[in-house]
Subunit: 282 residues, 4 copies
């Protein structure tokens, strides 16, 4: 997205204009293009999704036709992007360049191989462009505040995730052992903790309070351990919430770092023009 | 609810009084009316609910009688509302006007068509009037603070929801692919991710830690992806909690209610001696 | 617990002393009594619980013997409480007095009626005395801060609960309708939303992210509505967290309301002895 | 980890150097050792985990060979640790010393007894060393802030846990009674609340919003009670989140690091000019 705009003297004016429409969202034409692109991507995701619904089997020819139309549109868009950027190779090898290519390939490949069609779901990755909507809706400030709050808490999030992984690594094998047939010789029902990775999957699902219930303890000791893990997990998981809250409270309480030139007092609001202590101009 | 009170000179005094009782909650009569109306709506929702319970099948005639009584009461109320407002059409086409009509129609229609009865559940929409209780319980300040906190965070909530939708749009198809029979040729059990919309439904249920367990991954790769989505989802979902906390902390940080006597600006710190806008003494 | 201590002149000294031991936790004897009572209650709850475990059927005589011992102990304690308070009737009709009686009755009744035994679980109510542990562990300040934070947010919690109840009242009937056989004529599987109360139970389980999975939507429209309710519920439910956070942040930021007698500056810390602005004694 | 470094004069220099490499992470050699050790522990946990996966049965000889290699490595490490610390007995009886021994024993025991192999999962406890990664990644400050926030809230967490345990102790038996066959004579389906401990396990799973769904209420009264418990539980569980948030917000509210030159007291506000304890100029 950080393509530098080519100076008007080195490229023909229509390439310049095309670049402006496709890559920037500040002009009316650019905004219109972005809105239409997002709608097309959305339609494409919906079509690929509905194709997989068995109840709509008899509408499949319609879906296929829409998919082909959108694929051709996306191909033209991809071509135009290659055409109007100054460094096509750099775009083509960038993350979004690869995604744009992967989004159109499966439909063409489906002409050659059966089964390639199923790869059309890769197209969903194009939905990452949905973040452009912040630019359209003038929500860049909110988005960047959010990003900053998460970024500033990254150290604590790493500490938190390490703790979670450690607890999962210890709780998983423990539950596997406790629920294993060797520890419960007389039990008829088979353990749902069929392997340690399965037990770790259960530990993650449990600690985050998702609790599918596809794997549950069946022995008394297993249920006791499970209750303990739930309490530990719950105590752990409230911590990052607190962090992000604290970061965001801190962001909101930003005061000017400017000191009053007359009485040297600090802590003035960002919008203050006069010192609140001595009344002189800041 | 923002009906302007008609001046006493243009309407007969009983219409004026009726308007006061029905539409306002400040007079004792208005309060009594509101309490009775809320009780009647509550009774109506309970009756319609109990009618659907199979175990109470033999009490159905009783429920039907209560329903008819309440419907007649509501019809009278609807008529009175039309009668006492200055602009009946405007009320009839307002949100609450339409809801009030929809609440009584199904019972009358059930005389003409069988099956219309099932539409009686629309009556539950009348329960939206429950919010009037804040007025009765003098909790308007709390309600409006809450509304303000949510409203002020709307930008961040949009950013958050966009992120969730994007993650769901990408995780759903990915899981569908990973769990599909084409990727797992030898498996006997059928994939529970029968279509991409189903997979997206799973992604929402998982990311919000609801975790019904009606759709769960069965392959090793699927469980790994699932665990990853849970961790991503969990990290995402703590963010709006932090926002609302920060907003509410900000609300509580009291500023002086004193306005500057010179420029009338507000929002000065409690310890400010001089106006931060014009520099004059407070 | 607010029994006023009887003056030593009106009661014999042993009754006075007994009162001190049983009702107060400040003396060493009172503390020892409290610890033993909590242990006895805990043992009693464990015994009644284990009695219901089928695997331990053959230990039942042992459990019964323990239960009888504890019942006799509790009876003696109840008698002593009646004996040493100045107004026995007031104690006997107080909440804890009734609970203390209900805890011992079922065991005696089981001699007369079979089945009375199952009422022994009422004994669990005695566990409410566990809150006395705060007094023992010198955590009264924390407990009262917590109570204050919840109490101060009560207005907002009422607003929040009203909103939840309203959403449940509207979402429940809507799901019942959408999943009903009338709306899905060709479907083989039976709707799990068998009645509106059942649908409301589902709505509560879903909105609070508990998500048992015993009732789940099966139609496409039902799943869409469900996903919408989850998002609404999630947005709603983060709000009270924010409230309590904000209240607690406010509690921590308490500053002294005392102004400096020399320079009149405010905002001194609660533990400040000298003015932080002019250095004079506060 | 708090082994005091032995003075160079009392131990041979190679033992001193070995101690530095194994027990400290400040030198390059110590860091390299820590990274390799963590990788070896990780590989060991993965191997033991994969051994239990039925699908990988035919790779078992490979896993066994890796396990033996790692066990021998860990044995050498254990020996070196014993060799280089000044007080080997104190290390051997410390928590990590016991864990290090338990991690290698099962593999050797498996030569003597069949079944001892299953104890290899104890090795997962070694993963507790993962916390050393904070030292490597220079995240000690974040880790200690987190620890401080949790430690400072310990009083409130105890109050909270007592409340949860009390609610579980009362809700469990209540549900057991309500769902018991004695209270529901005509019901065909068997109660899933087979015993009071099971009912308590359900109460914990429900209150923390995990909601497996392996135990669910089936009667109308049971569902009502369940909905009530969910609401109570939800109200309770938001409280510790608020605590940790408030603690962390408090931590962020920086105070001056300047100590009073006269009384050495700390914690002065950033804008303080005079010591709040002794009144002297800062």
């Amino acid at each position: 997205m950080s393509q530098t705009e080519p100076p008007a003297s080195t490229v023909s004016s229509w390439r310049h204009r095309l670049h402006e429409v496709i890559f920037e969202a500040d002009t009316p034409a650019g905004k219109t293009f972005d809105v239409f692109l997002l709608l097309a991507i959305f339609a494409s995701v919906v079509t690929v999704s509905l194709e997989t619904v068995e109840e709509l089997e008899n509408h499949k020819p319609l879906f296929l036709r829409i998919e082909w139309c959108l694929t051709i549109l996306f191909t033209i868009e991809y071509g135009m992007r290659l055409l109007c950027v100054r460094r096509p190779v750099r775009y083509a090898t960038s993350f979004f360049g690869v995604v744009d290519l992967l989004a159109i390939l499966p439909t063409y490949l489906s002409l050659l191989f059966t089964g390639a069609q199923s790869l059309a779901v890769i197209r969903a990755l194009r939905f990452l462009r949905a973040f452009r909507i912040f630019k359209l809706a003038r929500m860049l400030r909110e988005a960047s505040e959010l990003r900053k709050a998460i970024w500033d808490s990254r150290g604590k999030i790493v500490v938190f995730l390490t703790t979670v992984v450690t607890v999962v690594t210890i709780a998983g094998p423990a539950m596997y052992l406790v629920e294993s047939p060797e520890w419960n010789p007389g039990r008829e029902v088979q353990s749902q903790f069929t392997s340690i990775p399965q037990a770790m999957y259960w530990a993650i699902v449990t600690m985050t309070t998702v609790g599918y219930g596809d794997v549950v303890p069946q022995t008394a000791l297993g249920k006791l351990l499970s209750a303990a893990l739930i309490m530990v997990g719950y105590s752990l998981i409230i911590v990052p919430t607190g962090f992000v809250s604290a970061e965001l409270v801190g962001l909101k309480r930003a005061v000017s770092t400017q000191a009053c030139p007359h009485c040297m007092s600090e802590g003035h609001d960002l919008d203050a023009k006069y010192c609140k202590r001595c009344g002189n101009k800041l």
